[in-house]
Amino acid sequence: MQVASSVRSIPGFSLLAILCLVILYAPLLVVMVYSFNDSLSITIWGGFSLRWYEQIFFGLEAEKFQKAAWNSITIAFMAAVVATTIAFSAAIGVVRTSPFKGKNLNISLLSLPIMVPEIVTAVATLIFFSMISFKLGYTSILVAHIVFCIPFAYLPISARMQSIEKVYEEAAMDLYANRKQIFRSILLPLMIPGIISGFLLAFIISLDDFIITSFVKGAGVETLPTAIFGSIKQGIKPDIMALSTLLLLVSTILVTISYFLSRADLKNKLN
């Protein structure tokens, strides 16, 4: 018998696969389709229309959503930049050095926050901010986002760093390059795919964070997720679906970029 048999020969495979895909994507599909619904009802189709997209850009709540979107994007961008920089430095310190006391502990401590329940981090961050009397608002959200984005940025960056063999740096050193030149002309260019992946991951994680943000945002400052949550408290309106669809689009684009980057990289390595 062949060991690697075709997946189609597994009984019930196609049925199970279709079921899983439906459960995963049907809700998203419903939201996307009904964002183009002309009717005010979220369950009854009333013809194709772009009025809800118009609504979020020019309607009553437009200003609120635009402000929230601006906050979300600027926070996500800055948090991703700072977190990526810190994660990159951490990766150099942990991956690019000879073993030191507590090295393994450091690696675990860097990734542990991913496993900590987010609600715990949220409560802890809020308590910490109030202990040091840090004023809640835009800056507190940014600081919290930078912190929880670091382990996410660290994942692809350290993975990439581990895959770059030390021999390239040795070869560069052998060919008269000093530390600065090795960093600039060897390590950094080879790290670019990992850095971009880390940045995008941090950006997306920050963009759609809700729990921590809602704890530390203070009054009056909203990001897109908290603004959307605030709106649906008064009932789900189709404009929320339009907004969610736009968010989904942004995430999809970023993930796709990240995917193609890592694939191009893999192709390089296989050759």
Binding site: E165, V167, Y168, E170, A171, A172, M173, D174, L175, Y176, A177, N178, Q181, S185, I186, P189, L190, N268, N271
Partner: protein
Amino acid sequence: MVLSGIREQLGKLDNNQLVAIEFQKVVKKFGSFTAIHNANLKIHDNEFFTLLGPSGCGKTTLLRMVAGFENVTEGNIFLFGKEFMHLPPNKRSVNTVFQQYALFPHMTVFENVAFGLKMRGWAKDDIQPTVWKMLDLVRLRPFAERKPNQLSGGQQQRAALVRAIAPQPKVLLLDEPLSALDLKLRQAMRLELKQLQQETGITFVFVTHDQEEALAMSDRIAVMSEGVIQQIGKAQEIYESPKNEIVANFIGETNILQATLLELNDEEAKYQIAEDFIITGDCVSGLVKNQEVKILLRPEKIRIGTSDNQVDSIQGTIQQSMYLGTDTEYQIRVPGEKALKVRDQNGFERRELLPAGSEVSLSFSKDSIRILRS
């Protein structure tokens, strides 16, 4: 040349030859493990020198100490008579060809070869022609704009080679550079490496575990084992007169027989291996009667069949035969319940394969025997 003039001022002479690298009582320890025991070695200028030994014998460690990737625990290494162990790798005018080539994957072949020159601060106008000259040297001009992963293994090998040669190092270190290539390519590269060394006049220090490679290319070879340099010499010396059992076993195949010195005079000695198995050989100075010795016999230096008066001969029984194309390898039982390995050349005269159980006579000449003190 100006360069050689400077070298003469710097280097010491060893048998009228300029010494490029000298290891003086070098010891290297990794924790409690001693990788190199007291290595003393002089590598001459413009020499193709090979460090040969099984994996883990310390040959790569010696190379990495010269390159600057490992420090020396005790002793010192000199480059053309000058101390340089305190310099970092980027300040040493030695270059390395790495086992896995280590071509920078994000740069083209041209950029790879130009890298060392750029780092040395060459002007752009000087870099261009030098890189083209280097690429022409190994026929890579048409591939200059390719990335390393678009090259074949042999092309990558040649690119790595000229990348290391381009900055005109005083010594080129080669760390098993042929081991990743297939057999045919490896054999072609041997010739190319040797030619490149002769054309450039750069001292090559070549590390390998492949004895055939070492014998084919080297001016001199150092055989290493377990961190000790066992023997230094020309290929022929090492093969024909191995200094000890380790060298004899590692280079080629050999029969090692335990024997007792039976009688000796000024010219020759008789060694007894078994009751009716006595060989005449050279008299090694300092041996006394009844002393235990070891006799080394290369399989291809034993002749099957007719013996004349010049040589000793004994009777044996063929136990096993293996046909290998250019020759046939026999296991032949001889007095003393020993089996000798014998290689019979499949040469000018067509020879019939001798079946197992055949009685044959074996002859040895005095010159084909090497005596070692036990």
